[in-house]
């Protein structure tokens, strides 16, 4: 099994810096997801690992060998693309066997491996079709098959599910997870979809502005986001943010004191500007007159089946709250929001970093 290490990796297009000082250690058999908005450099990083991208500085180690200047085919990797990138004039079988033929693998061995992979991915009936005769989901299965058949130690996925509709996306997500459990290969997966990241990853690497913002298990990323960017990017609906000023251990938000002590290890000095973050599910709606919590007005109610999403406003501040489906709130109601103190996330107003 093969691990991947990136050492102080930097990538430039001409004068433009795309990635800077990337250090990443991916143990063998780990499923790691590179998560970030488009343009954050995550795909570039993946291409660099694949050997499809020139590296300006730093090192790429795959299986403890320095692969920085090695050809893609010799890195022991396989790759799946967003646009599938199937060879249009070859049959599915041709697509699966092309790489093996190039590598001069013997004919019977190719056949064996193709048959095996086709069975694993349930694409046997498609083997003699052309890519143009396949549906999107089938195409991506074939693309995954093409990667699996290479028997590589490291799999690279470049937003493989982005072109699919919601149903197929979740099906294939499960498929990929199953594949990982079965193959135990190292998988590096690029996406901008935080649900994919949360569901698939052993570890998530959140990227933005040429650098890694945070890396950790999905749990760490979700529950202890390192900064406001990570906090906002992960989770749906996104975390609510309230501007506040510290006064006597509480954060004063829009004139109302919110106790935050439980979320902090050390109390903060008075007058410090902070951002108080709270996820929608960490709030509760109380009737108008309980007197504690934040008074808000209900704006929009979205029933979502098992629960309701309640959009509230208080002056300029907008907040989303998850409520049980039994909750009886109507737009225009004035309600109190109870904030779970321990679940608050406190960020420095200036740096955006977690305190």
């Amino acid at each position: 099994m093969t691990g991947v290490q990136l050492r102080n990796l930097g990538i430039r297009y001409g004068q433009v810096e795309v990635l800077r000082g990337i250090d990443l250690d991916i143990p063998a058999s780990e499923f790691i997801v590179l998560l970030g908005p488009s343009g954050c450099g995550k795909s570039t990083l993946l291409n660099a690992i694949a050997g499809l991208q020139d590296v300006a500085e730093g090192q790429i180690l795959i299986g403890r060998h320095d692969m920085t200047n090695v050809e893609p085919k010799n890195r022991g990797i396989a790759m799946v693309f967003q646009s599938y990138a199937l060879y249009p004039r070859m049959s599915v079988r041709g697509n699966l066997s092309f790489g093996l033929k190039v590598a001069k693998v013997a004919g019977p061995e190719i056949e064996k491996r193709v048959a095996h992979v086709a069975k694993m991915l349930q694409i046997e009936p498609l083997l003699d079709r052309k890519p143009s005769e396949l549906s999107g989901g089938q195409r991506q299965r074939v693309a995954i098959g093409r990667a699996v058949v290479r028997d590589a130690g490291v799999f690279l996925f470049d937003e493989p599910l982005s072109n699919l509709d919601a149903q197929l996306r979740s099906d294939l997500r499960v498929e990929i997870k199953r594949l990982h459990q079965r193959l135990r290969s190292t998988m590096i997966y690029v996406t901008h979809d935080q649900i994919e990241a949360m569901t698939l990853a052993d570890r998530i690497v959140v990227m933005k502005d040429r650098i890694i913002q945070q890396q950790g298990t999905p749990d760490e990323i979700y529950n202890r986001p390192a900064n406001t960017f990570v906090a906002r990017f992960v989770g749906s609906p996104a975390m609510n943010f309230l501007d506040g000023t510290i006064k006597g251990g509480d954060a004063v938000v829009d004139g109302q004191a919110v106790p935050i002590a439980a979320a902090l290890s050390l109390p903060l000095a008075d007058g410090r500007k902070v951002i108080v973050g709270i996820r929608p599910e960490d709030m509760a709606i109380h009737a108008d007159d309980t007197g504690s919590g934040l008074t808000v007005e209900v704006d929009v109610v979205e029933p979502m089946g098992p629960e309701k999403l309640v959009w509230c406003k208080r002056g300029d501040i907008g907040l989303s709250v998850k409520a049980p489906s039994s909750a009886t709130v109507r737009p225009g109601d004035r309600v109190q929001l109870g904030l779970a103190e321990k679940k608050l996330h406190i960020f420095d107003k200036e740096t955006g970093k977690r305190i």
Binding site: A50, P72, K73, M79, F81, Q82, R89, F98, G99, R150
Partner: protein, 297 residues
């Protein structure tokens, strides 16, 4: 999956008023008729006797449809001492056109490939120089080309004509392929690289098979240009490889003597028959190839 236009034509105005649809058909048919008039005149004239040509109007139908003028143009019209008609040149035109088109496409495709997927130093300079060269009146280049071909021993040979045709075709064909390749998703190139395909493997196994529409466009254009060429064949082919157009010109543009317009028109049509056939049989490919991104800026 190919970049070709795969979605079926959509009836955009299925609900449009019948009147406006009729107007569209009317306009299309009228323009088609106008476009066809010269061809019609050529065809009827080729069947008329000289007497009919002198007395009737251009558009009147011939009294009878005999093929004697066609046969004469093909088999026995004289050019100088040889009265063998166009048929000699027909063979030569084939000998010139087929290898020229194949080589021009091969060279243009390989060049377009090298220019589009691979970082080669000064590639853009080269490409720009070639494109601007395409605007230069090519007749001015004939003298230097005569010197070049005679230096490398190709002057007045079949190879010489082909060489010059390929040189003149390169800018356009390279442009077509470069632009076509530029429209191909880069992921495909990456996938092939991960699969270990090298320079030629990628070109032959993946790129070339998906370039069929483009090859069709380049092929159709070059067949037209090369088959209709007069000056290159005349200057570089020498006496043994004079293309059909040289005979046609001899028949049509003889300065002296009475002109047989019917034979001239038949000769003209016979000379155009190959490009016309190519257009009539593969016009569909042409549009598809153009639509596939071949000719996008």
């Amino acid at each position: 999956m190919s970049p070709a236009n795969t979605h079926a034509p959509v009836r955009r105005n299925a609900l449009a008023a019948p009147l406006s649809r009729m107007l569209v058909y009317l306009l299309l048919i009228v323009t088609a008729i106008v476009a066809l008039v010269p061809l019609y005149v050529m065809i009827v004239t080729a069947f008329k006797s000289m007497e009919e040509i002198r007395s009737g109007t251009l558009l009147s139908l011939p009294h009878s449809f005999g093929f004697e003028h066609w046969w004469k143009a093909w088999n026995s019209a004289c050019t100088g001492l040889r009265c063998e008609g166009l048929k000699v040149g027909f063979v030569n035109s084939f000998l010139i056109t087929v290898p020229s088109v194949v080589l021009a496409i091969a060279a243009g495709a390989v060049t377009g490939y090298a220019l589009s997927f691979w970082r080669v130093r000064f590639a853009n300079v080269l490409f720009t120089a070639m494109l601007i060269g395409g605007f230069f009146p090519y007749q001015v280049l004939i003298y230097p080309l005569v010197r070049i071909t005679s230096t490398i021993g190709l002057f007045n040979s079949l190879a010489g004509v082909i060489f010059v045709h390929v040189v003149f075709a390169l800018p356009v064909v390279t442009l077509l392929f470069r632009n076509y390749f530029a429209s191909i998703p880069i992921d495909l190139f990456k996938a092939a690289r991960v699969d270990g395909a090298g320079y030629w493997r990628f070109f032959f196994s993946i790129l070339l098979p998906m370039s069929v529409p483009m090859i069709a466009v380049a092929g159709i254009l070059q067949v037209t240009f090369i088959w209709n060429d007069y000056i290159v064949g005349l200057v570089f082919g020498g006496i043994n490889y004079a293309p059909m157009t040289v005979q046609l010109n001899n028949i049509v543009h003889s300065t002296y003597g009475e002109r047989e317009y019917n034979v001239e028109m038949a000769a003209t049509l016979l000379t155009s028959i190959i490009p016309l056939l190519v257009y009539f049989t593969s016009g569909r490919w042409f549009v598809r190839g153009v639509a596939s991104g071949a000719v996008k800026g």
